[in-house]
């Protein structure tokens, strides 16, 4: 039966099975890289130590804990997305693995999609591990603060104790955090897809990483350039053309930066999360499509 299915696959122009095989192989390959463990360990150490960074009032303490942990998750997943993806295609070309794969009836787009899926799986695993530690630290700190509050207010009236405990719980966990983690993941997916696209025409890993580092910085300023382009008249056609190019070519990464507002206690509407997540999803698809188009024409 397996042979029959494999035989059928060979004749299909598109096969999830082939993409899945490439994705799992990519994931295995990536998890064998030291860089993955270095990045993950640094992130975990930072998240774990965030509980001991400062002793202030409980609101400030939770604010710093969430800021540091979510910030660490954001920076390390972005870093991992860029560093892990940058080497995928150049490494396969250098090792000549790509020739072995493409010599079989595997279309180039499946190869690119499989590679991207492998990175996205790696990012998902990293996010799960980091989120688990973050929630564990948050829960542990919440429990110790609840005990502390209970001890401090043992002589107070019951309603005051309940109010204080409610305040501690409200400062510790909000459901918004889960949406923020999803947004951080989508930002990393977008960066991975974009890195894959850059790596299809880059000659070295270093070139890809440098281009992505600049893209990351410009991406956080894209909103300013776009606004200036759309709202300000004058300034000459060169300036206008430059701003338009920045606005149309680079992704707006500032849109994915909802952590600051969540941690500051602002109620972010669900619609904003949904729109941001949809945008991240479309960015990833379009950059993956670009990577497919660019890789299809690449001379190997």
């Amino acid at each position: 039966m397996n042979n029959e299915a494999a035989a059928l696959d060979r004749h299909l122009s598109f096969s999830f099975r082939r993409i899945f095989t490439i994705a799992t192989n990519t994931l295995t390959d990536l998890t064998r890289q030291k860089v993955f463990y270095f990045v993950l360990i640094f992130a975990l150490v930072l998240i774990g130590s965030s509980a001991f960074m400062a002793r202030f009032s409980f609101q400030q303490e939770f604010q710093i804990l969430k800021d540091v942990s979510l910030g660490a998750m954001s920076i390390f997943t972005s870093l991992l997305a860029i560093v892990a993806t940058a080497r995928l295609i150049p490494q396969d070309i250098e090792d000549r693995t790509v020739y072995t794969i493409l010599a079989k009836p595997v279309p180039r787009f499946e190869y690119v999609l499989g590679k991207l899926a492998g990175v996205l799986l790696l990012l998902a695993i990293s996010m799960v591990v980091m989120s688990a530690l973050f929630f564990a630290v948050l829960y542990a700190r919440e429990q110790s603060l609840l005990e502390e509050t209970w001890r401090q207010m043992s002589n107070a009236p019951r309603d005051q104790i309940d109010e204080a405990l409610r305040a501690v719980r409200a400062a510790a966990f909000k459901i918004d955090i889960v949406s923020v983690i999803a947004v951080i993941y989508l930002k990393a997916c977008l960066l991975a897809a974009l890195t894959l696209f850059v790596s299809t025409f880059a000659t070295t890993n270093l070139f890809t990483i440098v281009v992505m580092a600049f893209t990351y910085l410009i991406g956080h300023l894209q909103g300013t350039a776009r606004e200036y382009w759309l709202q300000h008249e004058g300034g000459g056609w060169i300036t206008t053309a430059f701003l338009a190019l920045v606005a149309l070519v680079f992704p707006d990464l500032q849109n994915f930066n909802l952590v600051d507002d969540i941690v500051a206690g602002t109620a972010v509407p669900l619609s904003l999360f949904a729109k941001t997540e949809a945008l991240g999803f479309f960015y990833t698809i379009v950059y993956a499509l670009l990577a497919v188009v660019a890789f299809s024409g690449k001379e190997l």
Partner: protein, 255 residues
């Protein structure tokens, strides 16, 4: 060549398609007062090259936290000028965090002002008082700017009301800001009582205060707290309210 053209067309078409969505997201952000930090060159000079790059790269809140911890260290060393500088940076980076504005104002108006008044290095009382007033004003400035960035949150209105009451002895302004706090969504129930209490201390506004306190009293048992009853009785005497319109004397607590 054809593929390069194809890639460019996809990139630019996607750019044009996402433009309205990104603008809509920006508009929604603005409406919610997000992204308030103005990352200009003056901030770069304040927080240093590395901090500025970090802030530009979407790590504003972490940079703000680090500076906040530094501000606390400066406070422990009573380096007031440094506390002020650091809190200005912190609040610029993270203007939506009410706690930062509140803490900045508290350090200036309560801690630095007392330190200035007790400054042994300054023998002239007039100059010590002047320094103290300047710190009050700095605290007030933090709270006013904090309110402009967070108009929907009651905490900063409350803090400004306390500042007017305790530092400027300006009960009218204290009443005004407690009332503003009470008008925000999710405000604590005591804000409206505090607004009325403060109003009851304002010369010439006793009638207004009486009407507000009486309105609260008539709302039911949950509002009839000892301070409210005491202020109401004080105003009844002062305004010579007819006996039949006065509230009954409080019964002694039965144990």
């Amino acid at each position: 060549m054809m593929r390069i053209a194809c890639v460019l067309v996809i990139l630019l078409t996607f750019g044009l398609i996402r433009l309205p969505l990104e603008q809509a997201l920006l508009a929604q952000d603005r409406q919610l007062h997000f992204q308030g930090a103005q990352l200009d060159l003056s901030l770069r000079e304040q927080i240093g090259q590395l901090g500025f790059i970090a802030a530009l790269s979407g790590f504003r809140s972490i940079v703000a936290d680090v500076l906040f911890i530094q501000a606390n260290t400066a406070w422990e060393r009573t380096e007031w000028a440094r506390v002020l500088l650091l809190f200005r940076q912190v609040t610029t980076l993270q203007p939506r965090a009410v706690l930062f504005w509140d803490m900045a104002a508290w350090h200036m108006a309560w801690n630095a002002s007392v330190a200035a008044m007790n400054d042994r290095a300054q023998p002239k009382l007039a100059l010590r008082v002047k320094a103290q007033r300047e710190y009050f004003d700095l605290g007030k400035d933090f709270l006013e700017r904090g309110i402009r960035n967070n108009p929907e949150k009651p905490q900063l209105y409350e803090a400004l009301a306390r500042l007017y009451k305790e530092k400027y002895n300006d009960r009218a302004h204290a009443a005004e800001f407690y009332a503003k706090a009470a008008a925000t969504p999710g405000a604590p129930s005591y804000d409206k009582r505090f607004a009325a209490y403060e109003l009851s201390y304002c010369e010439g506004r006793e009638r207004e205060a009486y009407q507000e306190l009486r309105r609260l009293y008539d709302m039911g048992e949950q509002e009839r707290l000892p301070t409210l009853i005491s202020r109401l009785k004080f105003l009844e005497d002062k305004l010579e309210i007819p006996p039949e319109q006065r509230i009954p004397d409080v019964e002694p607590l039965k144990r």
